[in-house]
Amino acid sequence: MTGSPATPSAAARVAEALGHREADRVPFFLPATMHGARLLGVPLPEYYGSAELMARGQLRLRERLGHDAVSCSICAAAEVEPFGGEVLLFEDGPPNAGEPPLRSAADIERLRPPDPGDFPALRRTLALASALRQRLGDEVPIMGGAVAPFSLPALQLGLGRWFEILEDAPGLAERLVRVNEVFCASLGNALLAAGAGAVGLGEPLASPSMVPAERYRELGLPALRRTIAAIRGPVAVSTASAPCAAVAADLAGAGAVAVGVSGADDLAEVKRRLRGRAAVIGNLDGIRMRRWSAAEAERAVQAALAAAGPGGGFVLSEHHGEVPFQVPQQVLEAVADAVRRWGNYPLTWARDAK
């Protein structure tokens, strides 16, 4: 997959897109971590227990699909371990967080930002970033992932308890978010140091479908801005499949170089709102993907390309940050084929259709 003057490397293609320019084609990213295990014939719990297996799985998947970036994020649940939580492994789906580890105000008051490198699941994430960087060099962007400070309490406390604290104990909420800022920036910088080229922050609670935008802007957005400023590399922010249109400009204003757009959003409209400020990444729906035929995959890709491709500033991707294990490999291949068929600039067909 080495680039040539005629065919830029994946890294160059993505850089052009993030710079709001048209490369040879629209770059695409399929965060299908679990499909790597299937290609290797390894059960998911064993796969998630080994950075080496995950690296091999990601590379095998890229050989099949030719996507323009790989992920070194294992799972959001890995981030509860430093706060006393447990990561649960399954044979048929991604790891999940166990019972929320923070149970009382005192738990929050005594909290200090942990060091991500001290905990097994995040150590594996860092090892995965290193292994991928070693094999891919600078040719392919490696995306690290972390949960943003305002959204991490959903795993630390449970979402209901977090909503109650936001409403009833704003001082406690701010204290937790401040601890999370330090942790999140520390994890982001550790990922970059290990080999990631950029960090994607998951911020589902920025979505107005989760928390009213005015409330998010009081506490979550300033925390996001400070966190991005403290991470020494490019940061993309995603609302993890929740609608983002109403806050997309806020996320870009906080310093995100790209914003992940949900399948529920009008992709063209979000791109218009962010024009020149941040690129858009999205917005294929992983749950719907499970039922797609090859023709439906092609139509979905075409629709996204037509909505956001012209002019650059677009990376086609699944919108949640993780393709479900139940999505057939053939669908991923149909998506990849469709990008190569329809995603070549200058996207004349899309401009003509308009």
């Binding site: 999940n96 929320p100 979402l159 909503f163 109650e164 928390v211 294990f325």
Partner: protein
């Protein structure tokens, strides 16, 4: 959306606004005023419609899940204070249970439980983080006839299929009603897994319970 004048006049709109503001004293005052005017019908004619409008507002993208959650919790407390443990305000009908399948995240269950209890239905919390086998065993012989299953992840939603198979194989006479993000996104999924119905929001549970749990006040 109601105007400020309408909200002042209509007790249900007053209550709705107080719930959206998470203003417990104002919500209590609005419900007390409604009870003074409507008597025993206040829950049915004031509280339940307010929760239903809030649920619909979330489904239509006008409101946030945090507002739905806080409204449900406040209403649950308010209703608990005015609904006698047994009596004419309580609904009777088939026994109802609720559980979270394969997950430790309880938000959906708590919102639905609060909504259902606020409307006067007794509902038994069967737990969370349960496998299909554990939940089927818990339901068998429990007398529960309507089971609400909350899911967060796609894999858990697909495990409802196994739950339904186990319940049917054990001849457990229970209706299975499902909810959660995977079912909202893929509107055919509830049929695929063999559920009897799905709710897109917590307030959808109320007409579904009317249909499947029956009974009366």
């Amino acid at each position: 959306m109601a105007t400020i004048e309408q909200a002042r006049e209509d007790p249900s709109l007053r209550l709705e606004q107080a719930l959206l503001d998470a203003d417990r004293p104002a919500a209590a005052a609005a419900l007390a005023a409604a009870r003074a005017r409507e008597g025993a019908g206040a829950v049915e004619r004031v509280l339940v419609p307010a929760l239903e409008r809030i649920g619909a507002g979330w489904e239509q993208g006008r409101l946030a899940l945090s507002q739905v959650y806080m409204a449900g919790r406040i209403c649950e407390d308010l209703a608990e204070a005015i609904l006698p443990t047994a009596g004419t305000l309580r609904r009777s009908g088939e026994a109802i249970g609720i559980a979270v399948l394969e997950d430790h995240h309880l938000l959906g269950k708590r919102i639905v439980t609060a909504t259902v209890r606020s409307a006067g239905w007794p509902i038994q919390d069967l737990g969370h983080g349960m496998s299909a086998q554990a939940l089927a065993a818990r339901v068998a012989g429990s007398g529960i006839r309507v089971l609400l299953v909350s899911t967060l992840m796609l894999r858990a939603a697909l495990h409802v299929g196994e739950l339904v198979r186990l319940l049917r194989a054990g001849n457990t006479p229970v209706r299975v009603l499902v909810g959660g993000a995977p079912f909202r996104i893929d509107r055919e999924l509830w049929r695929e897994v063999g559920a009897d119905a799905m709710g897109a929001s917590a307030s959808d549970a109320l007409p579904l319970l009317e249909r499947f749990a029956g009974g009366s006040r």
